[in-house]
Symmetry: C2
């Protein structure tokens, strides 16, 4: 009997091609795991594998390194993938589609959602990716850096791609309200606050001269309604006024 | 005589509050300048200022450090700003609007475009931001990290905010075609290629058995039209076929 349960979409593999510094592999693992990615593939890392310097740098993201797969060449590392993205600053004379990280990771999320396996290639630190590897990729991903300072290091590039993967694949509200144990004040509560201030300030002679009183009152009421007040805020503002009256009455 | 030329929108100030490691200030400068940001403000850096360790780390982004402004407290660092964003993982019991980096930097781009000065606050490495500083900010920015591994370091957080600033403020096409000295083949050129292959393969006995020939020809024509071929690609594919014929004719 076959199990037809739908499988969760496969996360993209991040393929580091001939990385030089072992520390950078650790930093890349951190960047991936920061955004929930854990499929790392390594093509011929210069300083051998496994490497304690990578583990030390990965602190907290060691599981990404534990599960990393090692390959001799790029072809083996992308063999099971239907679509491959190469991160590089310049296409260097190859005709190719160039995507932003955002467009690429949206595309990757759509592909993985329909069951395709995808890989993102990252070249070695100093030299960058060779045309041989770029030609292997379906599209190029280029981070829109400052043209005066286009040098993104390996771990930074991995971090940005992982960040865009999460943006494309996770539902995160753009704006939300953190309500620390309180809730928005109701219109009734705002009106009560407005009345409390208006009445008290009237007694205190605040609305002077009399000709200007209506517009001053209107401005004050408008102020309260413009503020995103919570019930806790309203209680604080009632308290402020009560205390001022108490202080005044002490003489 | 006053000059009424419209001023370019002011870029946001990135305010590092009590940063501990001097190296991290340098790495933050790199992250800012990667995306064209150059207004750094430092509040009481632990190891003093200026600091050679920061300069060494900033390699290439030294101008950001040269222009960095030093302050004793956060209030001074944000004094000229109309709107302040605090980057922090947790609002810690304060009622506050929480934005993603994307929403926050879109908001910042809109504000700076209409002349407001804005600042982004970053807390110290280990401790994170104090509630005192968070309360000073208008909104909180929270990076949607993996809940199992929420540790973003200072330079990573700066990099992501600078990246989102550039996304929000620069017009970068999501997808473009890099055409290395060539252009897309025209329909006439594609048809010529299709004819060349169909005629030659016909002579070579490729379309067999005859009953299947029409559907095989259709499949081949469909293949050419599905490919995003350039003029250079078409020339290569014509050449491939001519060479096979030449080779065959040699016997």
């Amino acid at each position: 009997m076959s199990t037809d349960a739908p499988r969760a979409p496969t996360r993209p593999a991040f393929v580091l091609i001939r990385p030089q510094m072992a520390e950078n592999i650790g930093a890349a693992a951190r960047g991936m795991w920061n955004f929930g990615l854990d499929r790392m593939r390594l093509v011929a890392p210069r300083d051998g594998w496994p490497n304690p310097a990578s583990v030390a740098m990965a602190s907290g993201a060691g599981r990404v390194l534990d599960d990393a797969q090692l390959f001799d060449g790029t072809d083996g590392a992308v063999a099971d993938c239907a679509f491959v993205y190469a991160t590089t600053a310049r296409p260097r004379g190859l005709t190719k589609t160039v995507m932003t990280p955002e467009a690429a990771m949206r595309d990757a999320a759509a592909r993985t959602a329909r069951g395709e396996r995808v890989a993102i290639l990252f070249g070695p630190e100093r030299a960058g990716m060779e045309n041989d590897d770029i030609a292997r990729a379906n599209v190029i991903v280029s981070v829109p850096v400052n043209p005066e300072f286009p040098s993104l290091n390996l771990a930074q590039c991995v971090l940005l791609m992982a960040y865009e993967w999460r943006r494309a694949s996770a539902e995160v509200p753009q704006i939300r309200e953190e309500m620390a144990g309180t809730e928005r004040a109701t219109q009734t509560e705002i009106a009560a606050l407005a009345n409390h201030y208006e009445d008290t300030l009237d007694r205190a002679g605040f609305f002077f001269p009399e000709a200007k009183a209506p517009s001053m009152k209107m401005a004050l009421r408008n102020l309260w309604s413009r503020m995103p007040l919570t019930r806790a805020d309203a209680q604080i503002l009632h308290g402020v006024l009560r205390q001022m009256v108490r202080w005044k009455e002490k003489g």
